[in-house]
């Protein structure tokens, strides 16, 4: 693994913080600091203990490992912290959702509904609507308060308690490298709050950049951030399984942490759309948790994560042979690279990392 340099990214603070009083901001920050401390204990100490306890089971199936580890106190604590800390983060006394919902009127004033809002909720697919993805109560499709809560979350530490700016930088820089020219057309699928989309525009000011998502309140916030940062980016309410653009509309089509939230059928439909929308000679990028290192133990922990953190399709995506999927669709020059969001290190992970992290795989390919 090689270490990449950390690059300066966002310079402006998280949207919506101005609605909190100084005291509320203090309470929320301290509460999140407490949770991040607990996450650090989970990520480093408890994870290491569980990994060590399970090491003698490395030659067994994930199913057997789960069976044998059920009696482990360390594994129970690991699982409990993994699942319940997310709930505390959102819905605790000073949780992000609790704080945002207490300021619902202010947030609605900051983020007035536009033409996209009418009937938007009806077209949200079941895999977004029914699961409280990431255990975010209500998800990102229900209200602008939820979107603001997610913005506060994204601006802090990630699920594994590490900063995520380095990941934003890496994704936008990779998109830039894939662009054939400065005024290329780039589509960011499943853009949620536009964090990646805006980073692409900042990295490539001459490009046409568009983000699409099914969650209208999230797009409302993405548009507001683009206005605030004076960035000319288009945000469109659209499903990545059926994008309202003609064939060969874009030079680069990408997605960041979208695929693990899609059931297999939706993944295949999205890949079909990526192929259809990409121009000849253009490129695609899929950045997500795909390759699971650490053999059977890694798979066991990953499947557990998927079910504990309400991301039930994550294991399905990891089981998919993405090289084959892309080859079957005629893509060439297919590259897979592991990326550690905590450090920015890249390479190919065989063993589980010493600390629990959201190891991701960056997949790129060209359309001949």
């Amino acid at each position: 693994m090689t270490q990449t340099a950390k690059v300066e990214s966002r310079s402006k603070g998280p949207f919506g913080l101005e609605i909190l009083t100084d005291e509320q901001r203090f309470e929320m920050d301290v509460y999140q600091a407490f949770l991040n401390g607990a996450k650090g204990f989970w990520r480093d100490d408890v994870y290491a203990r569980v990994k060590n306890e399970a090491s003698s089971l490395a030659n067994q199936s994930p199913s057997n490992i789960e069976l044998k580890m059920q009696e482990s106190d360390a594994y129970f604590l690991y699982s409990w912290l993994e699942r319940r800390m997310q709930q505390f983060k959102y819905a605790g006394r000073w949780g992000l959702e609790t704080m945002a919902e207490a300021h619902m009127n202010d947030i609605d004033r900051l983020l007035p509904a536009d033409g996209d809002a009418k009937g938007a909720a009806d077209s949200v697919p079941y895999y977004v609507k029914d699961l409280d993805v990431h255990q975010h109560p209500g998800g990102l499709w229900t209200s602008s308060a939820n979107a603001v809560a997610h913005e506060w979350y994204q601006s802090g530490a990630s699920f594994s308690g590490v900063g995520t700016d380095v990941m934003v930088d890496y994704y936008s820089k990779t998109v830039l490298e894939l662009m054939p020219r400065k005024d290329a057309r780039v589509l960011d699928m499943g853009c949620t709050l536009g964090r990646m989309t805006l980073a692409i525009k900042k990295a490539a000011p001459g490009a046409y950049v568009e983000g699409i998502d099914v969650c209208e309140p999230a797009l409302r916030l993405a548009k507001a951030k683009a206005r605030r940062d004076n960035l000319d980016v288009t945000f469109r309410l659209a499903n990545c399984e059926e994008v309202p653009h003609p064939d060969a509309s874009f030079d680069v089509v990408g997605s960041h942490w979208l695929f693990h939230e899609l059931p297999k059928k939706a993944i295949k439909n999205t890949l079909d759309e990526m192929k259809r929308l990409t121009k000849k000679g253009g490129a695609v990028i899929v950045f997500d948790m795909q390759h699971v290192p650490g053999g059977s133990i890694g798979l066991w922990l990953h499947e557990g994560y998927a079910v504990r953190n309400n991301e039930p399709y994550a294991a399905g995506y990891s089981g998919l042979d993405m090289t084959k999927e892309l080859k079957d669709r005629g893509f060439e020059d297919i590259k897979l690279l592991d990326f550690d969001p905590g450090t920015g290190a890249t390479g190919w992970l065989e063993d589980l990392p010493p600390k629990r992290t959201h190891y991701s795989t960056v997949i790129t390919a060209r359309k001949p």
């Binding site: 789960e66 499947e303 309400n310």
Partner: protein
């Protein structure tokens, strides 16, 4: 590599959602967050007072007996207890997606 195409994850999630040890951890965790914030507030306040040369034991005693403090205590004791024991009464608030997970795994198999 075989995967978890059985109901084991449902039992795992059920334990995390409803077991007594899960509830106890929830209560402890909520309590710890209250204490953490309290320590931060106390530290912040004492640093301010110290910088201004205003920290005095007699003042603290007088304030503890004031109506303003009593009122705060009355309100806080209700919110504090509710916040801590909420985890025991309400337990797990996220939907159980193990059924969806298992059908996806089965579809893969």
């Amino acid at each position: 590599m075989t995967s978890l195409a059985d109901k084991r994850w449902s039992a795992h999630i059920a334990r995390l959602r409803n077991s007594p040890e899960s509830k106890s951890l929830g209560v402890s965790f909520a309590l710890a967050s209250e204490l953490f914030l309290l320590k931060a507030e106390n530290k912040r306040l004492r640093l301010v007072l110290k910088r201004k040369g205003l920290l005095d034991d007699r003042d603290e005693t007088a304030v503890a007996e004031s109506e303003e403090f009593r009122k705060w205590l009355q309100n806080e004791q209700t919110a504090f207890s509710r916040s801590i024991f909420k985890a025991w009464l309400e337990t797990d608030s996220s939907p159980d997606v193990s059924g969806e997970f298992e059908s996806e795994v089965k579809a893969k198999a």
